[in-house]
Homo-oligomer: 192 residues x 2
């Protein structure tokens, strides 16, 4: 039997969700330095006290937000329909150019300077990296028992991350599409 929730629990869950989405939005727009709990609470239309009830510290809130980002991205990946490799490559790269990637990037960079954030973000990134790799192997129909296939898929995901970074300051979409088209061909040949 599924869990039965009260209206109060539903409201609490909705508030939590709104805070996480606001944390991601604030990170993407204002960066770590500009994203205090107060800024996020105001964006979410929630009192500072209510925000602190859900997330006692700033680190709790933003670690929760990274986790949320990670789950959203994995869900988006798993929801991709089975299709040709060129479409899969394009969809994988698309994951790294939206607001979720921008927020994750802000957190990675902040974590590189903030000791309190670093271990949590590092652990989460490793977990997300493994999960993304697993889903990509599956979508691409890649046979990892063949030598070099594992590294080929990893390199593709590194390229996708680099393309996301190139898109940070300007809209790099036209160039990106040409690069993705070409590398989808090379990848298809490499995966056999």
């Amino acid at each position: 039997m599924g869990a039965v929730t009260s209206p109060k629990q539903d409201r609490s869950r909705a508030t939590r969700q709104r805070l996480l989405e606001s944390a991601v939005a604030c990170l993407a727009v204002h960066g770590w330095a500009g994203s205090t709990v107060s800024v996020v609470a105001e964006h979410a239309g929630v009192s500072r006290g209510a925000a602190q009830h859900h997330f006692p510290t700033r680190e709790d809130l933003f670690t929760g937000a990274v986790e949320y980002v990670a789950e959203e991205r994995s869900a988006a990946l798993r929801a991709l329909p089975v299709q040709g490799r060129a479409e899969v490559v394009a969809a994988l790269v698309d994951l790294y150019t939206g607001p979720l990637f921008r927020a994750a990037l802000q957190l990675w960079v902040a974590a590189s300077n903030e000791e309190q954030l670093r271990p949590r973000v590092t652990e989460l990134e490793a977990r997300v990296g493994r999960e993304t790799h697993r889903i990509a192997v599956n979508l691409l129909g890649a046979d990892e028992t063949r030598p070099g296939v594992r590294e080929t898929v990893q390199g593709l995901l590194d390229m996708a991350r680099g393309l996301g970074l190139a898109n940070l300051l300007t809209d790099d979409g036209a160039r990106r599409r040409r690069v993705v088209t070409q590398w989808a061909v090379l990848l298809d040949e490499a995966l056999g």
Copy 2:
């Protein structure tokens, strides 16, 4: 005849150079939020007044630092000896994993949130991107008149950037070497 400089000019140039190197070091360690002109001046062993004589505003100092980073990276690239493609790929990727890349990354992310920094960093990044591509084509002996070759080299540089990002929080060296070895093979086949 080369320019003749006075001892005073030499000292001024040395101070400027020290400020730029300190700005890069501070960015890599403290990020944009923690890198004020005072912090950089103290790191360089220079008075705040002397720092402001060279760089009137914080934006001037850090734009100068980005330019300095860019010139250092181009010089390092051009200084690579002519060698096999696998070595060139490894050397290109190495450029994206050191303190120069970490500093540039901090600036890109700060520029995405700081309107005063953004146009300068965007312009500089476009210039550096073109220059890096030109040097990479040359080192790889790639024939850009052939269809797809331009995009193949661009994708390689995007992968290098993504590998640099993956190295931000943890030492990703062992995995990176395996990915680079495999992608050097794919690249070599693609370039013919």
